[in-house]
């Protein structure tokens, strides 16, 4: 089983610090800015990776654990009542650990040493367009994922895939008041054009479904399901069979993977400009890659008007207004 170390998939990737999972189909008004700070904590306890004796990319094995903690900062701005832009960058701390001889098979690089290692991962820039708002909200978007620098991707404790991605997708949202007052549904699909590695095509489909209910006008609870599917990529991997060296070096980037996670969350309008949220997800199905047992995220979003801030510092000429 020693050879298992070489094929264990590396970085903790996708689920970190997702955008606050509310109202992606409903874009902000013109001139609204938002500053979001999120924390993510992901625990991987198994790999979807078989062996030659028990083959299959849906076979779960314990080849070590990965804990990832991340902080993400995101800025958003409503360019118009229909067009919004946002940008984010996470800082990720990841460690790979286990018991030597049992479930600890580090790659031969220094960061798989049982300790946390941190990197600034990938910039993400989103451009969203509000095509429709009522009765069904439709917001197609384009996003670019750009690695912030050249970082290690060949490690269990790698912070990311270090690949450029360009996503095209759309969010759809609707209130479900006729079924249950205060409820809504939101659905997002995107297709990611992922940078090819070794000439191998490995694009990805991403899906997101949210069913929400406002317990009070300020507090909402939601059920969440997310999924992804790699189009192409390399499959047929087994923990104790070596692929060609050039594939092995990039196996975490180009694996043929899929997964479904489910969970829930809460959002609360804390003040007239600040929202907080918390969510939890666990992976219930997968092929290839990691099994995310727990994915917990918290965040706070502060909304503000830059034009008001400017006006505060550069006040307009005042007048007496209406006479009392």
């Amino acid at each position: 089983m020693r050879n298992a170390s070489i094929l264990l998939l590396s970085g903790v990737l996708a689920a970190c610090c997702a955008r606050p999972a509310t109202a992606q189909a409903w874009l902000p008004p013109k001139g609204e800015a938002s500053l979001a700070l999120g924390y993510g904590n992901i625990f991987v306890n198994r790999h979807y990776l078989g062996t030659s004796a028990s083959p299959g990319d849906n076979v779960e094995n314990d080849f070590g654990h990965i804990r990832s903690q991340s902080i993400q900062i995101a800025l958003g701005y409503g360019l118009s009542d229909r067009l919004a832009i946002s940008a984010s960058l996470p800082y990720i701390l990841t460690k790979y650990y286990g018991t030597p001889g049992q479930n600890f098979f580090p790659h031969t690089i220094s960061i798989d040493d049982g300790h946390y290692h941190g990197i600034f991962q990938d910039f993400r820039v989103d451009l969203d367009y509000q095509l429709l708002r009522d009765p069904v909200a439709v917001a197609p978007f384009f996003a670019a994922v750009i690695p912030s620098h050249s970082y290690t991707y060949f490690a269990h404790a790698a912070g990311g895939r270090a690949l450029h991605e360009y996503l095209l997708g759309s969010s759809f949202g609707a209130r479900l008041d006729q079924l249950l007052a205060g409820s809504y549904v939101e659905l997002t699909y995107s297709y990611a054009f992922v940078e090819r590695v070794l000439g191998i095509h490995h694009d990805r489909s991403n899906g997101f479904l949210e069913l929400g209910y406002f317990l009070t006008p300020s507090l909402s609870a939601r059920g969440i399901a997310t999924g992804f599917y790699t189009h192409g990529g390399v499959n047929g991997l087994a923990a104790d069979l070596l692929p060609p060296p050039q594939i092995f070096l990039h196996h975490d980037q180009i694996g043929h993977e899929s997964g479904i996670s489910v969970g829930g969350g809460l959002s609360y309008v804390l003040t007239g400009s600040t929202e907080v949220y918390a969510s939890y997800l666990t992976q219930v199905q997968g092929r290839g890659g990691h099994k995310i047992k727990d994915s917990l995220s918290f965040g706070v979003t502060y909304n503000f008007s830059p034009s008001q801030l400017v006006r505060r510092f550069l006040p307009a000429k005042s007048d007496k207004g209406s006479a009392p």
């Binding site: 013109k30 904590n41 034009s307 307009a316």
Partner: protein
């Protein structure tokens, strides 16, 4: 889930659930104090008089530069026109010294706001009603009693003000009668 994760989630839940829904402001059901000021067009506006002559009055705290407030420019014009025919008076308040009366006047003309608008440079009316945000609305009945307070609509387009006025006019209970206004701070 790990113990730390459970503890963190529990703490977050407790914080979320323990936060009061409406920490301050006039409570629904109280009689709102009267005020009287001159509108941007030079007319004298008395809240008590408007209450007497209408089925209800909607007091809206608005801004010319706040994105959240401006987002509803078209909607409030339509609401004021539609519900005006059914006996609901709308009055806009532009509080604070950050925006001038000239700006408010030009903004109203630009967006076709024909309802009364009052410039409240010292935020006296905002203080009187304890309004904190733009947009923030108060629906009063003919006795001056507060029937709905909060936002015009939610971020997912739930038409809270419109629903409240319709329920009020139909004699139905207003639910929710109080929402948290989300928007720009009214300068004090």
């Amino acid at each position: 889930m790990s113990k730390a994760a459970r503890a963190a989630l529990g703490l977050a839940g407790a914080l979320l659930l323990s936060a009061p829904e409406a920490a301050r402001g006039l409570a629904v059901g109280v009689v709102v104090p009267d005020f009287e000021m001159t509108t941007l067009e030079g007319r004298r506006f008395s809240l008590a008089q408007a209450e007497k002559t209408h089925t209800g009055v909607v007091v809206m705290f608005l801004s010319t530069i706040c994105p959240y407030s401006n987002y509803y420019n078209d909607l409030i014009r339509v609401l004021a026109a539609d519900f005006g025919k059914r006996g609901i008076a709308f009055v806009g308040i532009n509080s604070g010294a950050m925006e001038s009366a000239d700006e408010a006047r030009a903004h109203a003309r630009e967006h076709g706001h024909t309802f009364d608008i009052i410039k409240d440079p010292e935020s006296r009316i905002a203080d009187l009603l304890d309004a904190r945000r733009t947009p923030e609305v108060f629906l009063l009945d003919s006795r001056g009693m507060l029937r709905y307070h909060g936002r015009i609509a939610s971020k997912i387009s739930s038409p809270d003000l419109k629903s409240a006025i319709e329920a009020f006019l139909d004699g139905r209970p207003i639910h929710p009668a109080e929402t948290k206004a989300f928007g720009c701070a009214i300068p004090r």
